[in-house]
Amino acid sequence: MDLFHDSPLLTGVRQMLGGFAQHQIRPIAIQHDQEESMPWELMRTAQKLGLSQTAVLDGRKKLTGVAEDPDPTKPKSQGRLAVIGSEELAFGCAGICLALGGSGLAASPVARMGTEEQKAEFKRLLAGDDEKGHIKVAAMALSEPATGSDISGLTTTATRDGEHWIIRGSKQWITNGQSAAVYVVWAQTEPAAGRAGVRGFLVARGTPGLVPGRKETKLGIRASETAQVHFEDVRVHKDMMLGSPAVPGEASGGLADTKKMLDSTRPVVAAQGVGIARAAYEFLLDRVRGGSLHGTPMASHQHIMFELADMQMEITAARLLTHRAAWLADHHQENVAEASMAKAYAAKVAQAVTTRAMVLLGEEALAPGHPVDKWYRDAKIYDIFEGTGQIQRRILSRQLTGMNPT
């Protein structure tokens, strides 16, 4: 497998998820955006197809039927598989893509830092249906009302009490925050230790003191649920602290690992931005082919076609950055800068392409339920979550000189 040519496996996944996006996601996307509802039925269908909520833990086998080579020195394909799949699903609808894969945010630290028992417990908590008859989903609760970009300022605390930890604090903007069957919550265990004291805990729904809060009304990605979550003296067994007890050779489970985890999820998020941009671009292209403007073919106007040419360039560049970041990870090479470049650039392209598409379509795109209006609103989140555009540039700056510019 190289960077520029898809293997038959990757091509197959692209085709399968592209078809799923076109035929299953697109027809319901506007409805879920307008109703601000999760596509529970589709989530069940996707799970049956092998698009499990815990794909990160299950590896690629479930989706493709082919297991990853267990030899840790050999290149993997999981990173590229994820970016290819994400682009296709977000091409269908970014909100639905997040509903289908939002649990992956929680599964990712469990896969990376969890012990075998914790992985098994996480999967057990996600098995079966919840009390509403929905498939179960997970949430990753890191951000707080006063702490988003600067995750070292967390105020949620975990205090040791014998065999248990007592978690106290509030989390903000948590994907699947109301519906999750299991939460991976990050809390400060040793305030004096700063970042090193921040650890992740598995907390099951229904644990006394765990109170899902208000669901947010959002600008975009409205098919994905976002809510506050409150932890009011939630008692969690010590075995549910991720990475505990320290297993030789396993990750420590601290905040540094959270950052590493973000390096692996950023290309996936970047790919979603690419998917939105491509959706708007292809919508325009479709309109232009065969379309006419005051009696002349639309395709004969530079005003329109050069915009499309620019969009094509930008989308291709964003996709290449994204695949490069994923390829490096698959080849066990550091990708901090590449992951940040991909995330920041894809967010920029998603916003720029959808904005220009709105302008070119004029009044048409003001109509309620117009897909380009939705993509324009959806695109904005890609410059905010998983590290804002400014935070990606801060990471890149630090890589260049070792300093954090302010």
Partner: protein, 358 residues
């Protein structure tokens, strides 16, 4: 050249600013959720002279001398700072009233002004996409067929002033079914679509067949849109500035990060330029300067870019809070769209017009 406001203009700006800060901003979030203006809007705004300011005094309105587009641009900027959706309703009567007052027949005047002075609304439509078809009725009038809208105010308007292929038509909408819609922008502005089927416009309701009149009406609308857009961009950054002074990350208010200062400063530079271009276009319209139509169009190009960028960047400065409806900026990002989209892609119009004369 004098950039200072005279006493009357200053008074109008101060009054509308108070109204925008207190009432419009206060009502904006609820009106957005409800998809409708508050009941009080008509009364409070009516007291301030909205709705009939472009209707001649002898027809029961308030217009005694020449209409001042400069004053309208000054007030539009303040209205944009308040709430663009409600502002659209407050400004909707101006183009129909001015056009009919200037070129309309007695019958057209009687029909429109009777409605507007009784609290009615009228909307401006521009068939920039050519979706309506026109058949002459053989008596100087026309029959119109095709989709109208989505347009602000159309759900409750008694009349529409339609600009199409160099002709201005006054449509009486009595009996025309409207489908009320709530798009993501200007949700309170009572948008609707309508399907016209051989809708009759009598000869005395064809307001003008002079393409220059159509260009003039669209220039009024463009200057007004540009002024309001500059106000929206400014408001977005007023909210962002306040938030950035309070929000602390990495041990300092985020407003002190240079990259965020740049976002805000560039947006305010753009907004100031757009406001000046809108005022200049309005002055050119008031003085019948030959550059007026071009100035209004250029003002809208810039103001459209500026309001889009500024509202996107205001959401960015708010981070996660910008993406949810606890704060007003996500609404302003949605509300920026019509400033570029209404009446068609402004740049495309300019390009095609210039291509035709080279």
């Amino acid at each position: 050249m004098d950039f200072a406001l005279d006493d009357d203009q200053q008074m109008i700006v101060d009054t509308i600013r108070r109204f925008a800060d207190r009432d419009l901003r206060g009502w904006a979030a609820d009106a957005d959720r409800a998809g409708a203006p508050p009941d009080r809007l008509a009364h409070v705004a009516g007291e301030l002279g909205f709705f009939t300011d472009a209707v001649p005094a002898d027809a029961g309105g308030q217009l005694e001398a020449a209409y001042s587009h400069a004053t309208r641009a000054l007030r539009g900027f303040e209205l944009g700072r308040g709430c663009p959706g409600l502002a659209a309703l407050l400004e909707t009567n101006v183009e129909p009233a001015l056009a009919v007052g200037r070129w309309g027949s007695p019958a057209a005047k009687a029909s429109l002004f009777a409605s507007l002075t009784a609290g009615g609304l009228a909307a401006l439509a521009h068939d920039s996409r050519g979706t309506l078809s026109v058949d002459a009725d053989g008596a100087g009038g026309a029959r119109l067929t095709g989709p109208l809208g989505p347009l602000p105010a159309l759900a409750i308007a008694s009349h529409v002033l339609l600009a199409k292929d160099g002709v201005l038509y006054l449509l009486d909408l009595a009996g025309v079914a409207r489908i009320a819609v709530a798009p993501s922008s200007w949700r309170a502005a009572r948008w609707a679509t309508a399907e016209l089927t051989a809708h009759a416009v009598a000869a005395d309701h064809v307001v003008s067949r002079d393409p220059a009149a159509v260009a003039e009406v669209l220039a009024w609308a463009r200057a007004s849109l540009a002024a309001r857009a500059a106000g929206v961009a400014t408001a977005a950054m007023e909210h962002a500035e306040r938030y950035a002074a309070e929000r602390v990350q990495f041990g300092q208010p985020i407003g002190r990060f240079e990259s965020l200062i740049r976002l805000r400063d560039d947006a305010l530079t753009g907004a100031a330029a757009a406001r000046l271009m809108a005022l200049h276009a309005a002055w050119a319209l008031d003085t019948h300067h030959p550059s007026a139509h071009d100035a209004a169009s250029r003002a809208r190009v810039l103001a459209g870019d500026v309001v889009t960028r500024a509202t996107i960047d205001a959401v960015q400065i708010f981070g996660g809070y910008g993406f949810v409806n606890d704060y007003p900026v996500e609404k302003l990002m949605r509300d920026a769209r019509p400033f570029e989209a209404l009446h068609g892609d402004e740049r495309l119009g300019r390009v095609l017009a210039q291509k035709a004369v080279i």
